[in-house]
C-alpha cells in the first residue's frame, strides 16, 4: 500500500518561496489564496541568532481532523494517503477550514475549498509535485513512506532530528521537518502584528 509523504530539510531551505510560486502557477491558485506559504522566524539576540526558514502546507495527516467534519463527504483520503477534495460537492460551509490545525485550507472565490493535493495530476504522470521539482536547494523529498528506499524514507532516516507541526494535535502529519536549526526544535508560532485578524 503506498503512503505518500514529504520531508523538508530546514537546514538547506533558504525560504525563497520558489515552491510556493510553482504551486500557485501549476494549480491556478487564485491570487490571495495560498496552498503553500513560507514563514521565516528569527530567534535569539544580536549576534547569536537563528533563522528558521519554514515552508508550510497541508500535511496530509494520518488521521485528518478535516475529513470527518465534512457534511457532504467531499473531503476524502485516497488509498495512497493524499487528503483531497471533490470540489463539485463542496458547499463552502468552512467546517474543514475550522478543523484544520494548520490553516492549510482556503476558500476559493468561486465558492469551494481549495488545498494542496500533492499535485496528484503530476503523480499520475510519474512526476514529482511542482514544489519538490522546482526547489533550488533540493531540500524537499517526496515518496512512499512504506518503501524504505524511497527518497523521503532515506531523508528521514539520515536526518539529525525530525519534527512535525503541532504534534499534540494527534493528527499524525506526513510532512516531516528535518534538521530544525533552532535548538528546541520548530519555532513556536509567534503571532506577530501582521497576523492580527483582518490585517491579512
Amino acid at each position: 500500500m503506498t503512503r505518500y509523504a514529504m520531508s523538508i530539510d530546514l537546514s538547506a531551505c533558504v525560504g525563497c518561496s520558489a515552491c510556493s510560486v510553482a504551486c500557485t502557477m501549476e494549480n491556478d491558485v487564485p491570487v490571495g489564496n495560498h496552498r503553500l506559504w513560507i514563514r521565516n522566524t528569527t530567534v535569539g539576540t544580536f549576534p547569536n541568532l537563528t533563522v528558521e526558514f519554514r515552508p508550510e502546507q497541508c500535511l496530509h495527516c494520518e488521521n485528518p481532523p478535516c475529513v470527518p467534519v465534512c457534511p457532504t463527504g467531499c473531503c476524502y483520503v485516497t488509498d495512497d494517503g493524499i487528503v483531497d477534495i471533490d470540489e463539485h460537492q463542496c458547499i463552502a460551509c468552512g467546517a474543514c477550514i475550522a478543523a484544520c490545525p494548520y490553516d492549510a485550507r482556503s476558500m476559493h472565490p468561486d465558492g469551494y475549498v481549495t488545498k494542496c493535493n500533492f499535485c496528484r495530476h503530476r503523480l499520475e504522470e510519474g512526476k514529482l509535485p511542482a514544489c519538490v521539482e522546482t526547489c533550488p536547494t533540493l531540500c524537499r523529498s517526496f515518496g512512499d513512506l512504506d518503501d524504505p528506499n524511497s527518497a523521503v524514507s532515506i531523508a528521514i532516516r539520515e536526518a539529525d532530528r525530525v519534527d512535525v507541526l503541532r504534534p499534540e494535535q494527534g493528527t499524525g502529519p506526513n510532512l516531516y521537518y528535518l534538521n530544525a536549526p533552532s535548538s528546541f526544535g520548530l519555532t513556536s508560532n509567534i503571532w506577530d502584528v501582521k497576523h492580527e485578524e483582518g490585517a491579512h
Binding site: R39, T72, G73, H88, I91, A98, Y102, D103, E168, H200
Partner: protein, 262 residues
C-alpha cells in the same frame, strides 16, 4: 521578526452573517423542542408552534444560503445525498429537516401525533446540540471547548423561552429564570475551564479576554438579571435574550482564532 512569502488562511472563515445563523438556529432548535413538548402533550397551541418552527427553520436555512460562498452553485443538495454522521453540520442539517417535516404534519394536524412527536424529539435535539458540537469538535481551536455542547443548547432555550414570554405564553415565565441562571452558570464554568486548562486553553482564555472579555461578562450579567426582574416580564425576556446572543456571538467570532504554540 517573521518574514512571510504568501500567507496561511488564518483569517476568519465565518463572517458576520454567521452570527445571525447561530442566533436563528438556536431559535429554530428551541422552537422545535417546544413544538415537540406541545405535540406530545397535545397542547392547544401546538399547530401555531409548529408553524413558527417551520418559519424559523426556513429563515435559518436562508441565512446559511446567503452566507455561503457557494450560494450560486446550489451544491447544498449534497447535504442530503451523503451519510456522514461524524459531521456536526450534517447532523444539524438532518435535524432541521426532520423537525421541518414533523412540524409540517403537526401543523396539518393529520397522521399519528406520537410519531411526529418522536420525530420532533430527534429533530429538535439534533438541531439544538449541533451548533455547540460544530464548534467544540475543532480541538485545534482552544476557545471552543467541549462545554459549548451544553452552553449552546441552553442559551438556545433561553432565547426561545424569552421569545415565548414576549408572545405572552403562560408556561414561559416559569422557565426563563432557571434557564438563564443555568446558562450563566455554565458560562462561568466555561471561562473557569479555559483559564485553568492546558497551556493552550489558557492562551485561548487570554486571547478571549483581550478581545471581548468585558463584553462577555456583561452577557453573563444579562443572563443573571431575570432573577431580579420578575416584576417586569418584558425586561425579563429581552435581557436574557440579548445576553445569550452576546455570549454565543463572542464565542463564535473570537473562537475562530488558533495558536500554533507548541
Amino acid at each position: 521578526m517573521v518574514e512571510w512569502y504568501g500567507l496561511p488562511w488564518s483569517q476568519h472563515f465565518w463572517h458576520w452573517p454567521t452570527l445571525f445563523h447561530f442566533a436563528f438556529v438556536a431559535l429554530a432548535g428551541g422552537m422545535a423542542f417546544v413544538t415537540m413538548v406541545a405535540t406530545l402533550r397535545d397542547h392547544p397551541r401546538k399547530r401555531t408552534y409548529a408553524l413558527i418552527t417551520m418559519g424559523l427553520i426556513v429563515l435559518d436555512l436562508f441565512t446559511l444560503w446567503v452566507e455561503s460562498p457557494a450560494r450560486w452553485r446550489f451544491t447544498h443538495v449534497w447535504l442530503f445525498l451523503a451519510f456522514t454522521p461524524t459531521s456536526p453540520i450534517w447532523i444539524g442539517a438532518w435535524g432541521l429537516i426532520t423537525s421541518m417535516v414533523a412540524s409540517f404534519f403537526v401543523w396539518l394536524d393529520r397522521g399519528p401525533r406520537q410519531v411526529w412527536g418522536a420525530l420532533l424529539v430527534i429533530g429538535s435535539s439534533l438541531a439544538l446540540v449541533y451548533p455547540g458540537l460544530a464548534l467544540s469538535v475543532n480541538v485545534n481551536r482552544p476557545i471552543w471547548s467541549m462545554i459549548l455542547i451544553v452552553l449552546f443548547p441552553l442559551t438556545g432555550m433561553v432565547t426561545v423561552t424569552a421569545l415565548a414570554m414576549l408572545f405572552k405564553q403562560a408556561w414561559a415565565k416559569a422557565f426563563i429564570t432557571p434557564l438563564s441562571l443555568a446558562s450563566a452558570g455554565i458560562g462561568v464554568l466555561y471561562l473557569w475551564g479555559l483559564a485553568t486548562g492546558v497551556p493552550e486553553a489558557q492562551q485561548g482564555f487570554a486571547y478571549l479576554w483581550s478581545h471581548g472579555g468585558p463584553l462577555f461578562l456583561v452577557g453573563l450579567a444579562l443572563l443573571v438579571a431575570p432573577a431580579f426582574l420578575r416584576r417586569t416580564p418584558l425586561l425579563a425576556a429581552l435581557v436574557p435574550f440579548v445576553g445569550a446572543t452576546v455570549v454565543r456571538s463572542l464565542i463564535v467570532e473570537i473562537g475562530q482564532h488558533q495558536f500554533f504554540g507548541f
